[in-house]
Amino acid sequence: MGRGWRAVVEAGLGDARTRILGVFLIIVAVVGTFLMHSYANIETVFAASLLAGSLLGRWWTILVPLTALAVLQPLEWSTTYVGYGLNAITGITFFVISGYVFVGFLGRRIRPRVLFRVKSVALLTTISVPVTIAYDLWTAFGEWYFITRPFGVTLGTTLYFQIPFTLYHLLSSLIFVPLFGSIFLFLHAYGWPARSPSATVSGPDRE
């Protein structure tokens, strides 16, 4: 039984390189977002989630966004957004977490060939634009339902005021997805101390 669980975990987390990259992505998501917390919607969780799904796959598709948000959400609710009611916190947190997990799964669906090529980075960057808009529409709906609706604000008004924030979010995605995408594709493809010549270029590494 114990050995069975171990095998499941081993398969879910992948090889050592995948695990290291997964932890790197979590660190990038947490540290990047924390450092830029005064810049609304400029964040690295989106890029990390997309890359986790598309480059690492396996459990990292949801492990990266969930772990990063497990650290960031309590931080945000206890500092920048201190005082919000439990209902608003629970509701918004649900929309944020499900939104990023959705991003991870979409990344997994894209599955570019894990090669350090311009085409791979361009594909990830291009797809990040509609996915960022979809994510913002989803979370704006959550914000309307749990925060602004009780004030009599319509969904249309909430979406209207969301526009500049979505532009910032698009800016964030266009910077961080190609930046970290290039870095992680390079590391994934060429890695560090290759154990054998065949390990210097990796193909799609999925379950």
Partner: protein, 146 residues
């Protein structure tokens, strides 16, 4: 005959498109930023703060803190009540989180402001005041200030 670009040429084209998109988006976000309020002397402005079972009135003869947030901050310093807020760089602006112990979210109420009865729709430090303006900060659960 299809044009085949080398990896390096593709990188250059991609970088050019990406940088153009980033520059365009950045320019758009800057255009959407509310203009900063220039400090100037304002006379006979009045501030009313209505919290949870308490109220504060502040009416300086003149002030150079000529924004909805500036006069609140000035009142906080002069009258000695606590004021908490978060500063955002993008988009620029302050977000008031607590005044005199009443914290956003308590009882589903949040700090909101009105100037001459008009609901504030920009960050309070970007709402300019003029002579005789009446600023209301209310800890309320709706835009009606109730």
């Amino acid at each position: 005959m299809a044009l085949r670009l080398s990896e390096r040429q593709q990188a250059v084209v991609f970088a050019a498109i990406l940088l153009t998109a980033i520059a365009g988006l950045y320019a758009t976000t800057q255009l959407l930023q509310p203009a900063p309020v220039q400090a100037q002397v304002v006379g006979s402005a009045t501030l009313d703060v209505r919290g949870d079972g308490w109220s504060i009135r502040y009416a300086p003869a003149v002030t150079t803190n000529n924004t909805a947030f500036g006069i609140l901050s000035e009142a906080s310093a002069r009258l000695g009540f606590p004021l908490s807020y978060a500063i955002f760089q993008i988009p620029q602006g302050v977000f008031v989180t607590a005044i005199n112990g009443s914290v956003n979210g308590e009882g589903g109420r949040y700090w909101q402001y009105w100037v001459n009865g008009v609901y504030g729709d920009v960050a309070a430090d970007h709402e300019a005041l003029h002579d005789g303006d009446v600023v209301l900060w209310s800890f309320s659960a709706s835009q009606d200030g109730m």
